[in-house]
Amino acid sequence: MTELLRMCGISKSFPGVRALSNVSLSLNAGEVHALCGENGAGKSTLMKILSGVHQADEGDIFIEGKKVSIDNTKKAQQLGISIIFQEFNLCPHLTVADNIWLDRQPKTGPFVDDKKLIEKTQQILDELGLSINPKALVRSLSVAEQQMVEIAKAISFNSKILILDEPTAALTQSEIDSLFNIIYKLKAKGVGMVYISHRLEELARIADRVSVIRDGEYIGTYPYKEVTIDTLVHLMVGRELNNKYPVYQRKIGKVLFEARNIASNKVDVEHIQVHAGEILGIAGLMGAGRTELARAIFGADKTFHKEVFVDGKLVEINSITSAIKNGIGYITEDRKKDGLALNMTVERNVNMAFISNLCKKGFVNESAAKTNADKYINSLRIKTPSMFQKTRNLSGGNQQKIVLAKWLCNDIKVLIFDEPTRGIDVGAKYEIYELMNRLSDNGVAIIMISSDLQEILGMSDRIAVMCNGRISGVLNREEATQEKILRYATGLCDEEGKGA
C-alpha cells in the first residue's frame, strides 16, 4: 500500500486561539481515513490547511513522499487534493456539466465545445455509476445528487486525495448507501479519502483507520476494526459517556395536541396527536414531507384544510402568529438559514419571538429583556462570554440552545424539533436530549423530526413514519426497530389511513 499523504507536526494559531498543535495524519492509497473529534476540535482547520485555505504555522506536508507547500487552493488542486465541504460550492443556475468543468470546458477556438463537454461529463458520471443528466440544472437536483456532482467534479480533477466533510449530514439512509457505493468505487481506484463525520455508526462500514483529535491535539490513530464506538466517543470527549441517550421515565398525560386532515400540496395527514410529556418521533426519508408537515402545523405554509386542537379546544391556525399564540413552537432544521439571525446578539435572538411581551407602549423594556436572556443563558447553560456576543461566534450546540430559548420564553405547549442535533457534537447532543426530557417533564408535547434513526429510537415514545406526504405507519417505542421504520419509510408496507 503506497502512502499518498503525510502531515507531520502541524500547528496553527489564530489570534488568541491555538487551533492545532502538533497534529499528524497519514493517508494511504485506496484508504478511507476517518477523522473524529468534537465540534471545534480542529478537524476543519486541519482540512483547510490541507486544501490550501489556511497555511500551517509549523509542520510539514508530504505528498507521495515529496515535501510540498500548499500556499493556496489552486496549488492544492494541482497536487490532486479536493475537498467537499458541508456547504456545496456549486452554481445552482448552471448545468451539471458546466459545474463539473467550470472554467475548464473543452473549447474549439473561443467557443465551448458543447458536444465534447457533455461526452466528458457523461464519462465521469458513468464511471461513478450515477444516473444524473449532464444537462440538468444543479438547482433542480436533490441535496444528495448535488453532493454526487461535487464528487464527480473532484474526480474530474484526477484527485488522488479526497476530503469529505460531514458528507452524510443531509442524506437519508438510501442516499447514504449510494454514497458509500461510490466511496467503494473510489477506493478501488486507489483514491485516498479523509472522512469527517459525527455519525460514528456509519464509519464502521467504510473506515479503514480512524484518527482522533481533541481540543486541537492529536490523540491517536487506530485501525477501525480495533476500536469500538464507546472507546471512540471516550477518546473524542476525554470522558466516559455512559449513554448516548439519557435514561428517562416519562410521565405521559392527556392529549395536548391533535390535528386532523392536514392537507397541502405536499402533505396529506389524516390524524396526528401528541400527549403532554410525550415525544412523538417523525421518521422518514428526505422528501417524505416531514418538514412540510411541521410547517403546516406551525402555520408557516398554506394548507387547504386542517383542524387543530390544542388542549382539547379547536383553534384556528392560519399564520405563525396564531400558532405561537396557541402555544405551538417550531425549531427549524437549519438553524443558520432560518433559525437564527447570526449577526445579531445572543440577547436579541433569545428575545426574538418574545419582543411584544417585553414592550410597553412600543418601547422595549431593556432590563426585562436582559433579565430574560440571562435567565435562559443560565438555565440552558448557553456558553457565551456575554449576552451581547454575536450568535455567529457560538458553537452549533449553543446556537441550538438559543433557538430553544426563543421558544421557551413563550408559554409553549407544543414544540416541534426539526433535526434537533444536526451538526452538533456528541457532548452537546446529550445536553439537547436532556433539555428535551426536561421539557417533557414540564408537560410539553414534543414532535421530533429526525433523519438519525438512532436518535428517533433513543428518544421517541411513539414513532410516526412518513412516506410520500402521508403517515405510513406508527410504532410504539417497544416494537420499533430500524428495519421496521425503514420498511414504512420506503413504502414497503403502508397501513393506509392510520394516524399517529
Partner: protein, 347 residues
C-alpha cells in the same frame, strides 16, 4: 454562571466593540476632515458661519438618509427617494398656492410621501418585486407625477402674493433660531432623535433588525415581516417628502426636478455611517455623521477651489473606499470565529 451584568456596564452606549469602532471611525474621519480643511483654508473652513452653512446644506441629505437607513436595514433599497422628495415638495407647495394653510399643506406633502412609500412597500412585500427594480420604476413614475403637478414648471409661493405666508415658509426652509442655527437643521436633529429612538429602543426597531438580519428566522419567530418592511418604506417616503418640503421652503418655490439623484447621496451617507447595504446593521447617528462627512468634503473642496468635476471624482472614490473598508472589516469579523473553549474561562 456568567456575569453578563458586568459586560453591560462595560459596553455602555455601544453593544459591542465593533459597533463602537465603526461609529468612532466615521466620527474620526469627520474630525480629521474638519482639521484638514481648517488648516488648508487657513481657518476659513472652521468659521462658525461656514460650519452652519454646512449644517444647512447637509440637512435634506441627512433627513433623506434617515428613511433610507430604515430601508437599508431591512436589506432593501429605495431609489425613488429623490423623486419622492420632489413629489412631496411640489404637492406641499401646490397645496399652499391652492389656499391651504401651511400646517395642512405640510401634512398633505408628508402624506404624499407616506403614500409613495406605501406603494413602494406593497410592490416589494406583496408582489415580491426586488426593491431595486420596484423603486427604479417608481423613481420614474413619481418624477413624472411631480412634473405633472408642476406642469413642468416650478410652483412658486411668491406668486401667491401673500408676504406673510412666503415669510413663514421661507423661515422653515432657511431661517435661523438661537442666533444663527438654521431652523431646518433643528428639525433634522429632532427627526434624528425620534427615529434613533425608534430604531434602538422600540419593539419595532428590534423587529426591523431581525428582519434585515434573517428574514426567514424573523418570520418563523412570529414577526410580521410584511408589516415591518412596509413601515420602513413608509418612513422612507415620509422623510423624503419632509426633505422636499424643507428644500421647497428654502427657495419659497418647489422645483419639479428637485432631489434628482439625492437618493444616492442619502444611501452614501447611511453607508459611510456604518449601515450595511445587505441589511441587519445600521443606525441614525451614523447617518448624521455620514451626511456631514459628505457635506464637509464638498464644502471644503469648494473653499479650496477644487474643480467641481474633480470633486465628484474625489467624493466617489471616498464612498467606494469607505464601503470597501467596511466590507473587509465585516468579513474579517465573520472569519474570526471564536471557539467555545474561550468562553468557558469566563464562567
Amino acid at each position: 454562571m456568567m456575569s453578563s451584568k458586568v459586560e453591560t456596564a462595560k459596553n455602555g452606549l455601544f453593544k459591542n466593540r465593533s459597533e463602537f469602532l465603526q461609529k468612532f471611525l466615521a466620527f474620526g474621519v469627520l474630525i480629521f476632515l474638519c482639521i484638514f480643511f481648517g488648516v488648508l483654508t487657513g481657518g476659513n473652513f472652521l468659521q462658525i458661519d461656514n460650519l452652519l452653512t454646512i449644517a444647512l446644506q447637509v440637512t435634506p441629505y441627512a433627513i433623506l438618509g434617515f428613511g433610507l437607513t430604515f430601508v437599508l436595514i431591512t436589506g432593501g433599497t429605495d431609489l425613488s427617494a429623490g423623486s419622492v422628495l420632489g413629489f412631496g415638495g411640489i404637492v406641499c407647495a401646490k397645496a399652499i398656492t391652492l389656499g391651504f394653510s401651511i400646517p395642512v399643506a405640510i401634512l398633505i406633502g408628508i402624506l404624499t410621501g407616506v403614500l409613495a412609500g406605501l406603494i413602494n412597500g406593497l410592490f416589494i412585500t406583496k408582489l415580491n418585486v426586488t426593491p431595486f427594480i420596484a423603486t427604479l420604476g417608481t423613481q420614474y413614475a413619481f418624477r413624472g407625477l411631480t412634473q405633472l403637478v408642476g406642469q413642468g414648471k416650478p410652483v412658486s409661493i411668491r406668486a401667491l402674493g401673500d408676504e406673510q405666508i412666503t415669510k413663514v415658509f421661507q423661515f422653515m426652509g432657511g431661517g435661523t433660531v438661537f442666533g444663527k442655527i438654521p431652523f431646518p437643521t433643528i428639525i433634522m436633529l429632532i427627526t434624528a432623535t425620534i427615529l434613533g429612538i425608534v430604531l434602538s429602543k422600540t419593539g419595532y426597531g428590534r423587529r426591523l433588525f431581525a428582519v434585515g438580519s434573517n428574514e426567514e428566522a424573523a418570520r418563523l419567530s412570529g414577526i410580521n415581516v410584511v408589516k415591518t418592511k412596509l413601515t420602513a418604506y413608509i418612513i422612507c417616503g415620509a422623510t423624503s417628502a419632509m426633505a422636499g418640503i424643507l428644500l421647497a421652503a428654502r427657495l419659497a418655490s418647489a422645483q419639479s426636478n428637485a432631489g434628482s439623484g439625492y437618493e444616492l447621496e442619502g444611501i452614501a451617507a447611511a453607508v459611510i455611517g456604518g449601515t450595511s447595504v445587505i441589511g441587519g446593521e445600521g443606525g441614525i447617528l451614523g447617518t448624521v455623521i455620514g451626511a456631514f462627512v459628505m457635506g464637509v468634503l464638498r464644502n471644503g473642496l469648494n473653499l479650496l477651489k477644487v474643480d467641481a468635476f474633480v470633486q465628484m471624482v474625489i467624493i466617489g472614490t471616498i464612498i467606494v473606499l469607505g464601503v470597501w473598508y467596511d466590507t473587509s472589516r465585516r468579513k474579517k469579523q465573520a472569519e474570526s470565529i471564536k471557539p467555545v473553549k474561550n468562553c468557558e474561562s469566563s464562567k
